[in-house]
């Protein structure tokens, strides 16, 4: 956990990542608030807040007396959301840095292709 960002946000992101990469498939149960708290040595109220963010977003739902489950279709919703963030987080800052260094659009496109080939 990074102490310079709200921990509940980091817990929510961690669950989102696990849903996106398939570690937590749809309709499976997510660990309980207390399990998250024990695993990351964080306050249980903070862990609960992170889980509740995803309930409010319609990613998780509660089965009474059992626990939190991942909604069907959650993965697609999250991927769409992340694509939006990808533009804000990566593309905009990349373009700004490229401008600073005098990298042209063609050179930038070239670099992206080079990076893709490497992967």
């Amino acid at each position: 956990m990074d102490d310079s960002r709200p921990i509940f946000v980091q817990i929510a992101e961690k669950i989102e990542n696990d849903i996106i990469d398939g570690t937590l498939p749809e309709e499976t149960q997510v660990p309980s608030t207390n399990q998250f708290a024990a695993f990351y040595q964080i306050n249980p109220a903070t862990a609960a807040k992170g889980v509740n963010v995803l309930v409010d977003d319609g990613i998780l739902y509660k089965k009474r007396g059992i626990g939190m489950f991942i909604k069907e279709g959650a993965r697609a919703v999250l991927i769409e959301k992340r694509k939006e963030q990808f533009y804000e987080q990566y593309v905009l800052s990349m373009v700004r840095e490229a401008k600073k260094l005098g990298i042209t659009q063609d050179q930038l496109a070239d670099m992206i292709r080079r990076g893709e080939n490497k992967e």
Binding site: S4, R5, K49
Partner: protein
């Protein structure tokens, strides 16, 4: 939200110093609080007042809705683990664990002994012969196994090595999860325990400097660096808690909104930026208050 401790204008003055100065706060039920501040900031005096070990000079103090002074109903529900705890001369570790049952209605004897085993405490050794770390471990065990509805730890880890401290955090959180209660952890080492805290109270010079949700403080401040005029443009109309210059370059820690907007704005101005940890924010705010002792931090 049920309130466990409430103070209004609480003040404790000694002959020539004011240790606690006009402190008004509320401590809510079943939350974990960090009571932070430098050595000599007034943390210990505040805890002594809350646990009725000292009388306030003026102001109001209520614990579980009552005046705690010589009040058995309140004190039975309170456990205060202090650094300088004195024990009767003849007491062994075992005697402390047995006697605790008389003080704390919620005392879990079996659990206390299993913790003593985990902390590798020699049960038959006299309290006077314990190392500093072992003494700290006894305090921690009493604090956890007492299950008191209000449990206060004053710098509980002194003399403990990293392994034992980690064991303390693990067992405290485990037991808190199963048996929720109000916990106040006083410390000047924030990094290790900050993740355990739900709420932060920061005092400096006896005054209340911060009383906020811990998560709301993480990422609230941002450090920007770049040419002075751009940093000034960024910091315009905001509170700056720290400022450093290097030639024409300025680095400033500015209190922001805590959303992504601040970093975005810094980037657009061509400033490099990073978010500030809870520990760094507390250090900067403490220093800023020393520079401006009359101003309560408003963030």
């Amino acid at each position: 939200m049920s309130v466990v401790v409430e103070t209004k204008g609480l003040r404790k003055a000694y002959k020539d110093t004011v240790a606690v100065d006009n402190v008004s706060l509320k401590i809510a039920e079943n939350k974990i609080y960090g009571l932070l501040g430098r050595n000599g900031a007034g943390k210990t005096t505040l805890m002594h007042l809350m646990t009725a070990q000292q009388l306030p000079t003026s102001g109001e103090l209520k614990v579980f809705g009552e005046n705690p002074y010589e009040n058995e109903r309140v004190l039975k529900r309170t456990c205060f683990i202090k650094e300088s705890q004195k024990y009767p001369d003849t007491f062994r570790v075992k005697d402390v664990l047995e006697t605790a049952a008389d003080f704390f209605p919620g005392w879990d004897r079996e659990y206390a002994y299993s913790l003593a085993d985990e902390f590798r405490l020699p049960l038959r050794r006299g309290m006077k012969k314990l190392s500093r770390g072992m003494l700290a471990s006894v305090g921690i065990i009493v604090g956890i196994a007492s299950r008191a509805p209000l449990t206060i730890f004053d710098e509980p880890y002194l003399g403990l090595d990293a392994v034992a401290r980690s064991l303390f955090y693990d067992r405290l959180m485990e037991d808190y999860t199963e048996h929720p209660r109000t916990i106040v952890l006083s410390t000047h080492l924030i990094d290790e325990i900050s993740k355990l805290l739900e709420h932060v109270i920061l005092i400096e010079g006896g005054k209340l400097l911060l009383d906020e949700d811990a998560d709301a403080l993480r990422g609230r401040a941002i450090r920007v660096s770049g040419p002075a005029f751009k940093v000034n443009e960024f910091a315009e109309g905001r509170k700056t808690v720290h400022r450093q210059t290097l030639g024409g370059l300025v680095s400033a820690v500015v209190i922001g909104d805590g959303d992504g907007g601040d970093r975005e704005r810094a980037q657009r101005l061509g400033l490099s930026s990073e978010t500030v940890t809870l520990q760094q924010l507390v250090v900067h705010m403490t220093n800023a208050s020393n520079a401006n002792p009359e101003r309560k931090a408003e963030i």
